[in-house]
């Protein structure tokens, strides 16, 4: 690893940290798509700033682009308030228009602007180490490192200072307002931080990766934990992992760094989405299947409890009268047997003592509309789950 490679990974990781923090709050506040809007619509701000300063890392440009980002949010909210279109349409109308203006400005001045459209979407992370900050002939490292570094510092200090306020206003706006924190101030504060982060990261990683770095790590973390602190640290961790693994993937494939960082983030999300312990797809599907069988079991036991006559309790009756398929009937019957709820003599099913208590308690809960209690009851009665 040479120093340029280390620097690129450092920049990518810092971008990941800077994005993961506001991203977590945006995901929790159901405003993830505003990052999509901001990352696209800051383009005209960047282009105008570039016309004025001719330097992609000048503070004026960052300021202008941040202002465009906040303006987008205000514009979207204004359109939402008019009630002329539904909420998400407002986002979908604002950012393509602003982005188009930016693209047209770039294309019209393509000859004298060193700003090409690919760079806008993908960034130029590979070239970041060559644009160095030199003060009095001393090389202080790449410029983007300094920009992203300061954004991370600002974001972190804001996070630690206003953690309580952010937490309360994210989960309970009403409470936050009654405690005297201004939800509007926090909202626009968050929007401003998101805009600054997007602008700062834009130069290094491009518009699309900013969205991915904001949403993907936070969404992945949200599948694993419900604790805000844990979610923040997991999001940061996933972001950094994506950045470093993505860099090496790009290195081996000789392809775009931001493209592969995004892809790695996507793979991490896919794995967690499939295999997460409680919220993953497989465990959700497994749980749904389990509950389906257990509901069938309960229905069956209730049926047995209601009928004392023999023909209603015959094993065949399951397939004939309740209209269950053979396999399904067998599964339910086996489960009931394993749990000692029933006994079978001469193909006639009867409830055991345990089965009776279970059924009666269940009826009680169903009648009094406390269906949720049944879940707890299952823990007490079941030796084997469906």
């Amino acid at each position: 690893m040479n120093s340029a490679q280390i620097e690129i990974q450092l920049i990518a990781s810092l971008v990941a940290i800077a994005c993961a923090i506001p991203g977590t709050f945006l995901v929790l506040r159901k405003m993830a798509l505003i990052t999509d809007a901001i990352s696209h619509s800051i383009l005209p701000g960047i282009v105008i700033g570039f016309f004025i300063t001719h330097d992609l890392s000048s503070p004026i440009l960052i300021l202008l682009a941040t202002a465009t980002g906040v303006l987008t949010v205000i514009l979207v909210e204004f359109i939402q308030k008019t009630g002329l279109v539904k909420e998400d349409t407002a986002i979908g109308l604002v950012f393509p228009a602003l982005f188009s203006i930016g693209i047209i400005m770039i294309s019209k001045n393509a000859s004298d602007v060193h700003l090409d459209i690919d760079a806008v979407l993908l960034g130029e992370l590979a070239f970041a180490p060559f644009d160095r900050l030199i003060v009095q002939n001393i090389d202080l490292g790449p410029k983007s490192l300094w920009i992203i570094g300061s954004i991370v510092m600002i974001t972190l200090s804001l996070l630690f200072t206003f953690f309580k306020e952010l937490k309360v206003s994210t989960f309970d706006k009403g409470l936050a307002a009654s405690l005297g924190f201004s939800p509007i101030l926090i909202h626009y504060g968050l929007m401003t931080v998101s805009s600054i982060t997007t602008v700062g990261a834009f130069d290094a990683v491009g518009a699309i990766l900013v969205i991915a770095l904001m949403i993907a790590p936070a969404a992945t973390a949200y599948l694993l934990t419900q604790d805000l602190r844990k979610m923040l640290s997991l999001a940061i961790l996933f972001g950094i992992a994506g950045a470093i693994l993505g860099y090496w993937t790009a290195h081996f494939l000789d392809a775009s760094i931001s493209g592969s960082i995004t892809t790695v983030l996507g793979i991490i999300f896919l794995l967690v989405y499939l295999f997460a312990k409680n919220k993953g797809l497989f465990s959700v599907l497994y749980r749904q299947k389990q509950q389906k069988i257990e509901v069938l079991l309960l229905t069956f036991l209730l049926h047995l409890n209601n009928h004392s006559e023999k023909e209603e309790r015959h094993v065949k009756h399951l397939t004939e009268h309740i209209n269950w398929q053979k396999v399904k009937a067998k599964t339910v019957l086996n489960l009931a047997l394993k749990n000692n709820m029933i006994t079978v003599e001469d193909k006639i099913v009867s409830l055991t003592e345990k089965g009776k208590t279970f059924t009666e308690e269940a009826i009680n809960y169903i009648i009094t509309n406390k269906d949720t209690e049944i879940e707890k009851m299952k823990d007490r009665f079941f030796l084997f789950r469906g």
Binding site: E87, P96, S107, I211, S256, T262, L285
Partner: protein, 375 residues
């Protein structure tokens, strides 16, 4: 070349005519299907799908190793559909909300697509040039067979739309009711979503991945302002879409270095802006005018009822009073008094006012009317 020359060329020039017809058809189908997306609150689904289509195009290229827009469309269609169903999976099976799911799929698929595109660029294959045109669209690459494809797909979706018109309409406005009526909502849902995906994929070549969502949304959002009827809205949206396609292509062709996609989007944006402001029923301008008028009417009524309270204490209701005694009441101006006189509710004589018979009746029944209309 300026715009009027363009319209002359439109008739004489073959290429330009092909391109213009293509963008017009594209605008029409987008407007049509976009109306459903907008009304179903799936506006941003289009954004996600169009981004999600990119890896499909790249993979299609990697497989066939040459440029063939029909194969690309199939690739885009498949990866767009995968994206759509993954979004549904995330929303249905986890506690992540739709905005997170959309943003996630959008950025991940697009990032993966860009990874493949940059990888393709490094391959020693001369055919790869021009794949980037799918990012922002290049209407100039449209050829006659593309236009035919668009026309056929538009025709099919129009037929499907008419066949399932009743079902789709009811699904749009009351999904639960549709289900209770026994319609297969899942099938209808997948049907309309698939057609939205198809429309998006068709537009990729012309408008590009990044801005395709606006093509879907803008005409429909503009059309929504002019009507409350679904069929009219779809018709107007198709019209707006087609016009922005043709005008955008014209402007883009009439000057160098203007990518078609952004220009079309801006034209569509102008349609939205004009509709938002000037539509007679919902527009902001007329709403503001109505609002002002209501406020003025209310102010007049308040003044009138204040006068009525004074006048009813006198035997002769037309007994003149000094304007001065209205000073306790803040809502009157010279202008509003004049207006009341114009309505023949009061008479003004110098510093005095007196109520007329009509004014007295009007004021006495003011609240009755209001309560009546609210019943």
């Amino acid at each position: 070349m300026n715009l009027s020359e363009y319209f002359e060329l439109l008739i004489s020039d073959y290429t330009l005519r092909t391109i213009s017809i293509g963008t017009a058809i594209l605008g029409a189908i987008c407007g049509m299907l976009g109306s459903f997306a907008v009304l179903r609150k799936q506006s941003l689904l289009g954004d996600a799908i169009s981004h999600a289509a990119l890896p499909g195009i790249a993979i299609a290229f990697l497989i066939i190793e040459s440029k063939n827009s029909t194969i690309f469309l199939i690739g885009a269609l498949i990866s767009g559909l995968i994206g759509t169903f993954w979004i549904r999976g995330i929303i249905n099976k986890t506690h992540l909300k739709s905005d997170t799911a959309l943003g996630l799929i959008l950025s991940i698929f697009f990032g993966f697509g860009m990874l493949l595109l940059t990888y393709i660029q490094k391959l020693p294959n001369a055919n790869q040039a021009g794949l980037e045109s799918y990012l922002f669209g290049q209407a100039a690459t449209l050829i006659e067979s593309d236009v035919w494809l668009m026309a056929v797909v538009t025709g099919i979706s129009l037929i499907i739309l008419l066949l399932f018109w009743k079902e789709l309409k009811i699904l749009l406005f009351d999904p639960d009711f549709t289900k209770t009526l026994g319609f297969n909502t899942r099938f209808l849902d997948i049907l309309i979503t698939s057609f939205i995906v198809v429309a998006i994929v068709l537009g990729l070549q012309t408008v590009g991945v990044v801005l395709m969502s606006a093509m879907l949304l803008a005409p429909a959002a503009a059309a929504r302002q002019w009507t409350n009827s679904l069929s009219t809205m779809i018709f107007i949206a198709a019209l707006f879409g087609a016009s922005s396609g043709v005008i955008g292509t014209g402007i883009s062709a009439s000057s160098n270095n203007l990518p078609t996609g952004p220009v079309i989007v801006i034209i569509a944006g102008v349609f939205v802006l004009v509709s938002f402001i000037f539509s007679p029923g919902r527009g902001l301008l007329f709403r503001q005018i109505r609002f002002r008028k209501n406020r003025r009417d209310l102010q007049l009524h308040k003044t009138l009822s204040f006068m009525y309270n004074i006048a009813k204490n006198h035997e002769n209701i037309s007994h003149p009073h000094a304007i001065r005694i209205l000073n306790n009441f803040q809502g009157f101006t010279k202008k509003s008094l004049k207006e009341l006189e114009d309505h023949n509710y009061i008479k003004l004589q110098g510093n005095m006012w007196s109520m007329t018979e009509t004014g007295y009746h009007k004021a006495a029944n003011l609240y009755n009317q209001i309560t009546k209309t609210h019943e």
